[in-house]
Symmetry: D2
Subunit: 136 residues, 4 copies
């Protein structure tokens, strides 16, 4: 399994500054799961001062990618084939988390459950199921 610093170094080298896909922190990597956190900025917000849907989707997608890479190594060409997200509660303008858990890591497809939360993991703000296609 990749370590937090190895995975962070891979993202820093592969992705440009200024995107939710890069500007998150990897809090923890464990067998089967990864925890990310993200600090919203002005570009992350929508009217009313809550975190926008695309920001939430970006972090959910990134968390899914992170847990897959952590287990199979830095395969930059894994690509999202499907993402389904349910927005459950508003995400306030402060740090929030994405917990990604592998449902299945197959040879060709990997499916990940992602939950966004802020105050407590039990208060889920959004749930996403994300499928990645893994190159042969």
């Amino acid at each position: 399994m990749m370590s937090v610093s190895e995975l962070a170094a891979f993202f820093a080298q592969a992705f440009p500054v200024g995107q939710v896909e890069r500007d998150h922190d990897i809090v923890e990597i464990k067998p089967g799961s990864v925890l990310l956190q993200f600090e919203p900025d002005a570009a992350s917000l929508r009217p009313g001062g809550i975190v926008s849907g695309p920001t939430q989707m970006g972090l959910a997608d990134r968390a899914a990618y992170a847990v897959i890479l952590a287990h199979i190594g830095p395969v930059a060409m894994a690509v999202t084939s499907n993402l389904n997200i349910s927005f459950l509660r508003p995400v306030a303008n402060r740090r929030f988390h994405a917990q990604a858990t592998l449902l299945k890591l197959g040879r060709r497809l990997a499916t990940v459950d992602v939950r966004l939360w802020q105050d407590s993991p039990a208060e889920v703000l959004a749930q996403a199921t994300v499928t990645y296609a893994i190159p042969a």
Copy 2:
């Protein structure tokens, strides 16, 4: 139905500069559908120079919102409850379109089919089904 200029004015006033949610053009509004176009910039790309998933999801979500607002008027509080997207083909680093078509506009929920395309509407790059909750 709102006109292109009315809808564009609403988005310009309600959303900040520098987000895919704002920096698109509304090409056409027809009964039941809206066509948007978007010109990617550096922030829209991922490694390999193709348009990132979050950019695609942002435009899909925006197109769904646009077709709903065009039909019910500027109800800023309509919120996405679910978004499901299938990424089918790479989106190259040039202008692409989002065609949003109402599947159902109910009193409480609106469901929209969105297709992203670049060279031809028949060559779908991504398909999204987006559900918005409409305030009472």
Copy 3:
């Protein structure tokens, strides 16, 4: 492309009597799309006399499978990897249709848009996006 009678013969041989997966009619096969129809019976209904969700999901899944097989031949081992369905309007207790359209037929994944309708294709009762994994 398989003909209606070839595809019907394959389903009749491969699936048992008494399931929505078998007891439908193939109305038409065209490049990129297939149209099925299904006559509900008592087992298809839920309280209130409308067609149940599982019946709708079964026909949607079957229509997706049909359009894929029609294009790649009778590969019994293609399996559904993801199905997303939005239930939009009640399906009354009489014949209804499933129109399946290929969004992408790749080597490893095929993604299909399915719409259920009864009185008119323009009045969509349910929309599904279905992804099949195709064996190597």
Copy 4:
């Protein structure tokens, strides 16, 4: 919260014999979750002797319905608005379970995470996210 016997009695009275929607057992109801089990029969299977997709979808939908009713009482008119399911591993022809957990129980929408499993809850065979619309 409804008890197992109250919920079972409601399903037995509201649904006809011979459907996955009825012929399951309610194993347990706890705050926020319900566990169902189902014994496949010939009608539940597809070629190869594994449990069919529609059977899995039927039980997932039923488990979501069960956990909602257990918390709000027997509101027969709650209807599925969206169901997204990822089929991860084959379901063998023997008893399997559906664990439904409330992600959010709102006034108008309820969203439920459902996992199908057979040998161990940790080996997820299918994951579904199901949204119900709750009548006013």
